[in-house]
């Protein structure tokens, strides 16, 4: 793979961009690999990348039913933050955030990481207390956050109405080093780096069954035939229960749609990410100028990649009170992704009842921000059988009652 650099840009400018080549490969599937990862979204590709980079395991296939990064990786609102309450969460999300800072250099691919700062609004007294607690917890965890006043919120985001009668801004949790990144580029960058290490990314290859022998997985049945493997990683987000069911075990997961929408592009008006958890509304401005808005999840299980209209209406209704200037914006696109929500709203990075099979799922509504940390920890778990980043996130915590409770802790929707 040719390296991207300012010289490459200059060289290609002189020959009318004829020499860029493919970003990732489209190989024929081999009969067997050391490691097969199901799911070529951000988490699956990051896992493959760190397996190669940190552990030298490069005989890897990443199998994808659709196209690369076409699931939740391409459907989220690209918010990156690590201001969680519980220690295991803070550790893995902060690892992810710190890896995002150097990801463009590491992958030699511009993921447009923009540490513009994330404001989480406290709009009820309950939230004020919750976020003050989170700020204290974060300072013990070494995550830089602070609780800021409404006046400071107004200074950081002048288009906000902080005196709204229904949703006044009473303060906010501010993480200056949070921000956003180009979600597609994260998947593309990892895919390019994986291809560079000789890994195979098999798109349009659906896993239809999982073959087993004596409590171990021997391979996967796919639409391209049987592919044998020594280790299997399931990283399929919304469809985790479906794939686990093929392997014969059940997960503590419910899959529900989560919606987002973007407006027409407007001039720069907001250079921070704002989250309003009371009303399930998240907003930031993309580099193209679109206002990117995330909403809440539906209340019932569905795999339809579209959500109920009334949830969107609730989000927008609340947002236009907090941001009066967006009330006359036209919305350009609207979509949904299927998120896999666990009982304690924390992810599962775990061994499974099958000896050589590992599962990474349950990121729910907040997976994008975790991609590099998740890949880092899960690769270590797959290579060594244990990882300090993931050991609290095992499937066994539901039986033991050892929850990493992020839902009750702060009233936070991710």
């Amino acid at each position: 793979m040719k390296r991207n650099s300012v010289f490459a840009v200059a060289r290609e400018a002189l020959r009318q961009h004829s020499g860029w080549g493919r970003t990732w490969g489209n190989p024929e599937a081999k009969k067997a690999y050391d490691v097969v990862i199901i799911g070529a979204g951000g988490h699956g590709l990051a896992t493959a990348y760190y397996l190669g980079k940190n552990f030298g395991i490069t005989n890897v296939a990443v199998i994808e039913k659709g196209w690369l990064g076409g699931g939740n990786t391409g459907r989220n609102t690209t918010i990156i933050r690590s201001n969680y309450l519980q220690d295991p969460s803070a550790a893995i999300y902060e690892k992810a955030r710190s890896l995002y800072e150097t990801m463009s250099q590491d992958l030699n691919y511009n993921v447009m990481f923009s540490p513009r700062g994330v404001i989480m609004l406290a709009q009820t007294h309950h939230e004020v207390r919750g976020y003050q607690r989170t700020a204290h917890a974060n300072s013990l965890q070494g995550v830089k956050t602070e609780f800021i006043s409404p006046a400071r919120v107004k200074e950081l985001c002048p288009i906000m109405n902080i005196d709204g009668p229904r949703y006044p801004v009473l303060g906010a949790l501010w993480q200056a080093r949070g921000g956003s990144a180009r979600h597609d580029a994260v998947a593309w960058g990892y895919a390019r780096a994986c291809t560079d290490m000789g890994m195979h990314i098999l798109q349009k290859t659906e896993v239809t069954g999982i073959t087993q022998s004596a409590g171990n997985v021997t391979g996967v049945e796919t639409s391209r035939g049987h592919i044998a493997c020594k280790k299997l990683g399931m990283v399929v987000a919304g469809h985790a229960s479906v794939v686990a069911n093929m392997a014969g075990f059940q997960l503590p997961i419910e899959s529900v749609p989560l919606q987002a929408l973007v407006s027409e592009p407007i001039k720069p008006c907001m250079d921070v990410v704002v989250m309003a958890n009371t009303v399930h509304g998240y907003m930031s401005q993309s580099d193209k100028g679109e206002m990117v808005i995330g909403g809440g999840t539906d209340g019932y299980n569905a795999y339809t990649q579209r959500g109920s209209f009334h949830h969107l209406e609730e989000t927008v209704r609340a947002l236009i009170e907090t941001f009066p200037m967006v009330s006359r914006l036209k919305m350009l696109r609207h979509w949904g992704g299927i998120v896999d929500v666990t009982g304690d709203r924390s992810p599962i990075l775990s061994k499974t009842p099958l000896g050589n099979t590992f599962i990474n799922c349950g990121w729910g509504t907040g997976g994008f921000k975790a991609i590099p940390g998740s890949g880092w920890g899960f690769a270590e778990l797959m290579a060594k059988g244990e990882s300090p980043l993931t050991d609290q996130f095992g499937l066994d915590r539901f039986r033991a009652g050892r929850f990493i409770d992020e839902s009750v802790a702060a009233g936070v929707a991710h």
């Binding site: 469809h239 229960s241 479906v242 069911n245 059940q250 997960l251 503590p252 997961i253 419910e254 899959s255 209340g299 019932y300 299980n301 569905a302 795999y303 339809t304 109920s308 209209f309 009334h310 009982g343 539901f398 039986r399």
Partner: protein, 109 residues
């Protein structure tokens, strides 16, 4: 927009008038149960892509809990029935079989 018919008050209700209550026909475990049974009851979920049985509450109507048979992949509704039952009634099973021949869900078929 999902519309379900409440089998108690007989009204067609929009999803905004209902509360979703998760998977139906869970077997309750209490004192004396093993950890595995209790884990399964509290957290283990079918979460299927396709036919699903769910609990719903007629929140802005009669207030009663009822069950619905629904497809999570197409949002098609096969029917609703009263909650005082351990398994779906035959007319619901027949309605599902007409659309999804050979269906199974947990122990039902």
């Amino acid at each position: 927009m999902l519309i379900l018919n409440c089998p108690y008050c007989g009204c067609d209700k929009d999803e905004t008038e209902l509360s979703a209550g998760g998977e139906a026909h869970l077997k309750r475990f209490g004192p004396g149960a093993t950890d595995a049974e209790f884990e399964g009851y509290l957290f283990g979920r079918e979460n299927p892509k396709g036919l699903h049985f769910e609990r719903w509450r007629c929140a802005s109507g009669c207030g009663k809990w009822f069950h619905a048979a629904r497809c999570t992949a197409t949002l098609e509704v096969f029917g609703t029935y009263k909650a005082q039952t351990l398994e779906p009634p035959q007319n619901i099973k027949d309605a599902i079989s007409a659309k999804r021949p050979g269906w199974t869900w947990r122990g039902f078929s």
